[in-house]
């Protein structure tokens, strides 16, 4: 675990302690289990976002994709009697295709990622609303998919704690993403392209392919989380479902040490970032803060976190520069940002 991840963990424990002291209900099993479920759902698409941010891109359509694919999934299994396994495959494939289209537009057509995915945000939201005629999509009376519901939204008792399956899913995704990003050749390429695409190209890395792959992975993971979220909410109002989720994802990634310039960030950091965000949500509820202030609290904490981090980085640089003047030992700082262990 890098220093950055550690300081984030300390911050989480600190906030948790303060909240628990003010309102002990924070530590109730039910509350913890619910918060964990939120972390599980939000963590998966935050990791998806991190892949794109690491290569120096951005994916703004996450929320709309979650709405559109959620609507389609429910429609497939409820109204078209598609087997849920087949439906899952279709939805994930659709997510991959969306990523492929975004990545291709960014690399081959050289459109800025912000613009491509902003258009995606508008298009998919509109498509979701049109498809359902703005009606809420959900399970009809008596319609039930016990296996699917148990898998996606169930909880299993582990040592007296009802562990949401979304957390299990996040755990699996985290482990795979961690190995891919921090241990695999492909992960190394992702960071290299994010750091300096030109130099990566001069080293023989086909940077366009790497960039497209990042968007494809992002699309696939987002689709997976869309199914979990749909099964958790059980009904989808296409106008609001998943809205602002892309911003939660970006916030979690930034809190977790990703730089929007690319080339930085760790999977552990992103998961911890998600945990902190969901704790803040929970804190607003538990401390009796008006829920309308929800976003304001979140924004303030993120800003404070980023400012604090900036301060620490600068101080380390100053100390390093003062110590290593005339010697070649100064800049060890950036490496540990890159290494996430």
């Amino acid at each position: 675990m890098s220093k950055k991840d550690l300081s984030l963990l300390v911050l989480i424990l600190l906030v948790g302690t303060v909240v628990a002291l003010i309102n002990p209900r924070f530590l109730y099993v039910g509350n913890l289990s619910n918060t964990a479920n939120q972390v599980g759902l939000f963590g998966i698409f935050s990791i998806a976002q991190a892949f794109v941010i690491i290569i120096g891109g951005i994916e703004l359509s996450v929320g709309s994709v979650i709405a559109l694919l959620g609507v389609l999934f429910i429609d497939l299994i409820v109204n078209h009697d598609v087997d849920w396994l087949v439906a899952t495959a279709i939805i994930v494939a659709a997510g991959l295709v969306i990523g492929l289209v975004h990545g291709t537009l960014v690399t081959r057509m050289r459109i800025q990622a912000f613009v491509v995915t902003l258009c995606g945000l508008l298009i998919y939201r509109g498509a979701a609303r049109y498809y359902t005629e703005d009606a809420t999509a959900g399970f009809g009376f008596g319609a039930s998919f016990p296996m699917l519901e148990w898998l996606a939204a169930g909880r299993t008792n582990v040592l007296g704690f009802p562990l949401p399956h979304s957390v299990v899913a996040l755990g699996v995704v985290t482990i795979i993403a961690w190995v891919v990003l921090h241990r695999s050749v492909f992960g190394r390429y992702l960071y290299a392209v994010g750091k300096n695409e030109e130099a990566a190209r001069y080293s023989g890395i086909r940077s366009s392919r790497v960039i497209i792959s990042a968007y494809v992975i992002c699309g696939g993971l987002t689709a997976f989380s869309a199914i979990l979220i749909a099964m958790y909410t059980r009904s989808i109002s296409p106008a609001v479902h998943g809205s602002f989720y892309e911003l939660y994802a970006i916030a979690a990634a930034v809190l977790g040490g990703c730089s929007l310039r690319g080339g930085e960030g760790s999977i552990i950091g992103v998961v911890l970032g998600t945990v902190l965000l969901q704790m803040l949500q929970n804190l607003v509820n538990l401390l009796g803060i008006p829920s309308s202030l929800n976003f304001a609290v979140m924004g303030t904490v993120i800003l404070a976190g980023v400012l604090g981090d900036q301060y620490l980085v600068q101080r380390r640089h100053r100390v390093g520069a003062a110590k290593g003047r005339g010697q070649a030992s100064a800049a060890a700082v950036p490496i540990e940002k890159m290494k996430a262990e």
Partner: protein, 505 residues
């Protein structure tokens, strides 16, 4: 003509390890056209940066209108009437001509609103357009102007600042012949109005055409001044060279073998209608000399697959190959050590280890997972072999010296199996010690059977290291030199597009 209004006296500038200017003196009188010539790296640009107030000299006196001072600021230089027409123009192509001329000092109206007074701005530009005989309007968007027209905009900007001295840094390097002619006429016109001009160029015939005198720099020193009467290409070339090159040359262990890399009729985007043919043989270092901008880097980029080749073909060991991207070049064993080390050669805030393994990561991995132990082992080996001075292989390459950074780039390719190595300015920004180590490594590589193509603007390097030299001029090869023909004179002759005399003088 009155006396000099600007005098540089014994100006020196040293950077750690390099003396860029060594007691340079220069006087500028009104209405004088001075050509400043010298090889790449002779100190021309540094001298001009001193005049522009960008570089603070480490010694000497600058006298403007009689007032002596030790350095100028940018504001001082503008106040003294010194203006630049840069090689890379400092213009905004999202603005129109008038807005560019008045950038930063726009006439305003509307009191506290400070709205831009477009009418006054355009009116202010009109007489300048006339004076230079421009064929475009004050409200023409800059994006629609040709390079030559943009240059005129820069000159207008200088004139609108009441410049007394306009410094032009290789103004004709990308102009066509007619455009160059027009510029020459404008230079004459400015001179007639009492404006002085310092003209940096590599084109000796232009010097002949317009200069009142030529000041020749070499190794940071003024080595001679030629008056109008003394000007001749031969005299200029004699002054530009004429130093004893240290003999660096180490002959190859065996005579060169068959041609490994053959470039046949290749053209690049910069010079689409010029073609280059050359071949590099096994075990030889082919130096590729030429002036900056002669198309050498573009050729290297195209051979390495960064840019598309416009026509032509590439043979490797006699077989035609297609190089669509750098990956393809690397798979064939053709590697490039790029000119822009920091931008293209390295990931600066990544460790030495990870930089070295990047192009060949797959071979350090099993099931697509990187074996960091093997990676590190190789990095340690390369550090040993190339004598990379760093606390350890986990150090970020950005904190290393230029020479050690270059060794890391080299280590990337030496960890693989090079057939052809292309170096673009292999020792730019590299200290003397590391330079020698790199040269030794080049020879060891060729002796091991590698073919090396070395682009270099450093005369000492080209002549001292190469087994053979190809010289490029404006996108084409202007000649090949064998070791018996090696001389600065010959390289320079070919570089400026002249033929070499069969027998040296």
């Amino acid at each position: 003509m009155s006396g000099p209004f600007l005098e540089l006296i014994d100006i020196s500038k040293s950077y750690p390890g390099v003396v860029a200017l060594d007691r340079v003196s220069l006087q500028v009188s009104p209405g004088e056209v001075i050509a400043l010539i010298g090889e790449n790296g002779a100190g021309k640009s540094t001298l001009m940066r001193v005049l522009g107030g960008v570089v603070e000299p480490s010694g000497g006196v600058i006298r403007v209108d009689g007032a002596a001072r030790s350095s100028l600021t940018v504001a001082d230089a503008i106040k003294a009437g010194i203006a630049f027409v840069h090689q890379e123009l400092n213009l905004f192509d999202n603005l129109d001509v008038a807005a560019n001329v008045f950038i930063g000092r726009e006439p305003v109206r509307g009191g506290p609103l400070r709205l831009i007074d477009r009418k006054r701005m355009h009116a202010g530009v009109a007489p300048l357009l006339d004076r230079l005989g421009c064929d475009f309007a004050a409200d023409a968007p800059l994006a629609e102007l040709s390079l030559a027209q943009r240059q005129l905009v820069e000159i207008m900007k200088a004139l609108s600042l009441d410049a007394r001295l306009v410094i032009m840094d290789e103004p004709t390097s990308s102009l066509t012949l007619t455009e160059t002619d027009r510029l020459m006429r404008i230079v004459a016109g400015l001179k007639a109005h009492g404006v002085s001009i310092i003209f940096i160029t590599h084109r000796l015939n232009e010097v002949m055409q317009c200069a009142d005198r030529a000041v020749v720099l070499r190794d940071g020193r003024v080595v001679g001044t030629l008056t109008r009467a003394e000007l001749s290409p031969a005299a200029m070339i004699r002054l530009m060279i004429g130093r004893d090159l240290k003999s660096l040359y180490v002959p190859p262990a065996a005579p060169p073998g068959d041609s490994v890399l053959q470039i046949i009729d290749a053209a690049t985007d910069t010079y689409p209608d010029r073609t280059v043919s050359l071949s590099v043989r096994r075990g030889e270092i082919l130096g590729l000399a030429g002036l900056v901008g002669s198309g050498r880097t573009e050729l290297a980029r195209a051979v390495f697959g960064i840019d598309r080749l416009r026509g032509g073909a590439i043979r490797l060991d006699g077989e035609l190959i297609r190089i669509a991207n750098p990956r393809a070049a690397i798979e064939q064993g053709i590697y490039l050590v790029p000119e822009d080390r920091k931008g293209s050669g390295l990931l600066l805030d990544v460790s030495i280890t990870e930089n070295i393994s990047l192009p060949d990561l797959a071979s350090y991995s099993r099931f697509w997972l990187v074996d960091t132990a093997r990676e590190k082992e190789n990095a340690m080996r390369q550090r040993e072999r190339l004598n990379i001075r760093a606390p350890d292989v986990e150090t970020a390459v950005g904190s290393l010296s230029g020479g050690n950074q270059q060794k890391v780039v080299l280590a990337k390719w030496l960890s693989m199996r090079p057939k052809v190595l292309i170096f673009d300015e292999p020792t730019r920004g590299v200290d003397v010690g590391a330079k020698q180590e790199i040269y030794d490594m080049l020879r060891r590589l060729t002796d091991a059977g590698v073919a090396i193509l070395m682009i270099s603007s450093d005369m000492e390097e080209v002549i001292g290291i190469s087994d053979r030299i190809a010289v490029m001029h404006e996108g084409a090869i202007s000649g090949f030199l064998d070791r018996s023909q090696f001389s600065e004179h010959n390289v320079l002759q070919l570089a400026v597009g002249h033929a070499i005399e069969p027998e040296g003088p």
